[in-house]
């Protein structure tokens, strides 16, 4: 396979990526290749830089004043950290769902419509709202009361609303930062089913500290841990099945069998 072809077949590729907070190197030398239309899970113990890595994929770390990075994050073959790249445009293409559901204090309808509206969506907004709420498996629960505040929904519903909101901007990639950590097991399963359906159209990268979730819901898994300098490193990356049944690295094995972390 030639290099250009390979680039087209990757959703995100990092090259020699180092992430820093001030002088502290939080993540060291990550080379990760995310396959499109698959679910990629990032697992690892607390503090190993999983979320930092995820947030560097749509430049959410830009808001941390001390943050800087070295290396490249390629999206369609283009380094999103190049000086001529607008982070706002990056975030339109690479959406995000956060750890804690964070709907706007607006109506359900406006929660979904807002992102599309600011990004210049000119077609029928009602259709878009219905379509994305259906995609997020929330439509049947809220269709009679779209004017209700997004904050009045339950935690699981709020998180699906946040997913619908992200979908309405029509991104290619959806980053999920421990999206179920604030939810109960039933709401968690709903989100996992939803992820599976969405992965037919979208590339999903999920950070989770729940190993069962990674094993259940992802196609590929990257295992991160800390080295002796407390910097996050990627130990192993491969198909989820292989990582959980036949890890190549001793540290991965220790982690997934529960001997560490």
């Amino acid at each position: 396979m030639t290099e250009t072809l390979e680039k087209q077949h990757l959703a995100i590729e990092t090259r020699d990526m180092h992430l820093f907070y001030g002088h502290f190197r939080a993540v060291k030398d990550v080379d990760l290749q995310v396959i499109p239309q698959k679910i990629t899970a990032i697992i690892g113990p607390s503090g190993c830089g999983k979320s930092t890595v995820l947030r560097s994929f749509n430049r959410m770390n830009d808001f941390v004043p001390s943050f800087h990075m070295e290396g490249e994050v390629l999206f369609h073959g283009q380094n999103i950290y190049a000086t001529d790249v607008d982070p706002v445009m990056v975030r339109q293409r690479i959406g995000m769902v956060f750890q804690k559901p964070n709907p706007f204090p607006k109506s359900i309808y406006d929660n979904v419509a807002w992102g599309a509206r600011i990004n210049g969506f000119k077609e029928n907004m009602d259709d878009l709202v219905e379509q994305t709420l259906r995609q997020a498996a929330l439509w049947d629960e809220v269709k009679d009361d779209l004017r209700k505040s997004g904050l009045s929904l339950s935690g699981g519903q709020q998180q699906r609303l946040c997913i619908a909101r992200a979908l309405a901007v029509k991104p290619e990639i959806i980053l999920m930062d421990e999206p179920c950590s604030a939810l109960d097991p039933i709401a968690t399963l709903k989100i996992e089913d939803l992820m599976r359906e969405l992965s037919e159209q979208y590339t999903i990268i999920i950070v989770t500290h729940n190993m069962q979730q990674a094993a259940r819901a992802s196609d590929h898994t990257a295992f991160f841990t800390m080295d002796e300098d407390r910097a996050g490193i990627m130990v192993e990356y491969g198909e989820t099945n292989q990582i959980f049944t036949n890890p190549r690295d001793k540290r991965t094995e220790d982690y997934i069998t529960g001997r560490f972390g």
Binding site: N58, M60, F63, P65, V88, M89, R91, Q92, R93, G95, M96, F98, K100, N102, P103, F104, P105, K106, W114, G115, I118, N119, L151, C162, R165, A166, V169
Partner: protein, 319 residues
């Protein structure tokens, strides 16, 4: 023999128990009682002062309304205020107060909110560390200095722009300078409200590809709206009650006018002039200032209550 030892042990234990009980016994702590009393006194002073003020204002106002020719209806509906010749229309004073307040808020709201948005959404830590102390200095300037600033800087400036139609004393100049005085209050309260909006909400907006401006104006400001309105209302209440600037720069002598270039006396300006002058006790002039004081007190109290309610509601949303 054995019995004896057991007995002795029991006695020893009892005495030990008594020792403990003795140690646990309540004892008087004089210092504590004294401090508690003193602290209660501190709180009570402000309460009794407030009660005293309300009582005094009410009593003297009653005296005013009992004077011949004074009726509450006339007081609140007529526009001519000349108590010495029996004209008790407080509207001219209220009108001047509302005008200076309006001009003040036209300055304080946009500038204060703009500065607050800049501080909470845009400013680098360095810019913040410069701007915040400057605003605090602005808040610390004595109002009499603002009054002179209005009289000797703002009014000449207005005259240079609008010409001779601007009188030496005018409500516009006083109002604009009052706006500068209130700006730090509106700014810091609005900034508190904006900063209290959780970061997760901003991240949600940025994550959808929103710019800083879209995030600030369409997400953060609406989420902080009740806090901002509270800041605005408190600013109004400050402007209504402000005395020194209007006394110095807005003019003395009641004047019912909507012309911002004319001199017109506000409620506070009138009270300051009468109470500082040589008006004798129990004349209509003298008694009227208590009625006006009561009016001022009620309106600012009302505004403060509304603003407190709004701040409380705003706190509920995110905690």
């Amino acid at each position: 023999m054995e019995n004896q030892i057991v007995k002795q042990q029991v006695i020893r234990m009892e005495s030990a128990e008594q020792l403990v009980i003795h140690k646990l016994r309540k004892r008087p702590r004089l210092g504590e009682t004294f401090i508690q009393g003193f602290l209660f006194f501190c709180g009570a002073v402000s309460i009794f002062t407030t009660i005293g003020i309300v009582f005094e204002l009410g009593k003297e106002s009653l005296l005013f309304f009992q004077m011949p020719g004074v009726t509450l209806v006339e007081f609140l509906t007529k526009t001519e205020w000349q108590p010495t010749i029996g004209k008790f229309g407080v509207l001219s004073l209220i009108n001047a107060t509302l005008m200076t307040t309006l001009f003040a808020m036209l300055v304080a709201l946009p500038l204060g909110l703009g500065a607050a948005i800049y501080l909470s959404e845009y400013a680098t830590p360095r810019a913040r560390s410069i701007l915040k102390p400057v605003l605090e200095v602005l808040a610390g300037v004595p109002t009499v200095v603002y009054g002179f600033f209005a009289l000797t800087t703002m009014t000449p400036l207005l005259r240079a722009i609008f010409g001779e139609q601007v009188q030496v004393y005018n409500t516009l100049s006083a109002g604009l300078v009052m706006g500068i005085m209130i700006l730090p209050l509106v700014c810091s309260m609005s900034e508190d409200a904006l900063s209290a909006v959780p970061r997760s909400l901003r991240e949600a907006a940025y994550g959808l590809g929103a710019t800083r401006l879209e995030t600030a104006v369409q997400v953060v400001v609406p989420a902080a709206l009740s806090g901002i309105i509270a800041a605005f209302i408190l600013g109004v209440s400050r402007a209504v009650g402000e005395t020194m600037i209007v006394a110095l720069a807005a003019g003395s002598g009641p004047n019912f006018t909507f012309d911002p270039f004319q001199a017109a006396e506000t409620m506070t300006g009138y009270i300051a002039r009468i109470s500082g002058g040589d008006v004798s006790y129990d004349t209509p002039d003298y008694n009227s200032i208590f009625a006006i004081g009561l009016l001022l007190f009620t309106s600012t109290l009302l505004l403060n209550v509304i603003s407190r309610r709004l701040v409380a509601r705003f706190r509920e949303v995110y905690e």
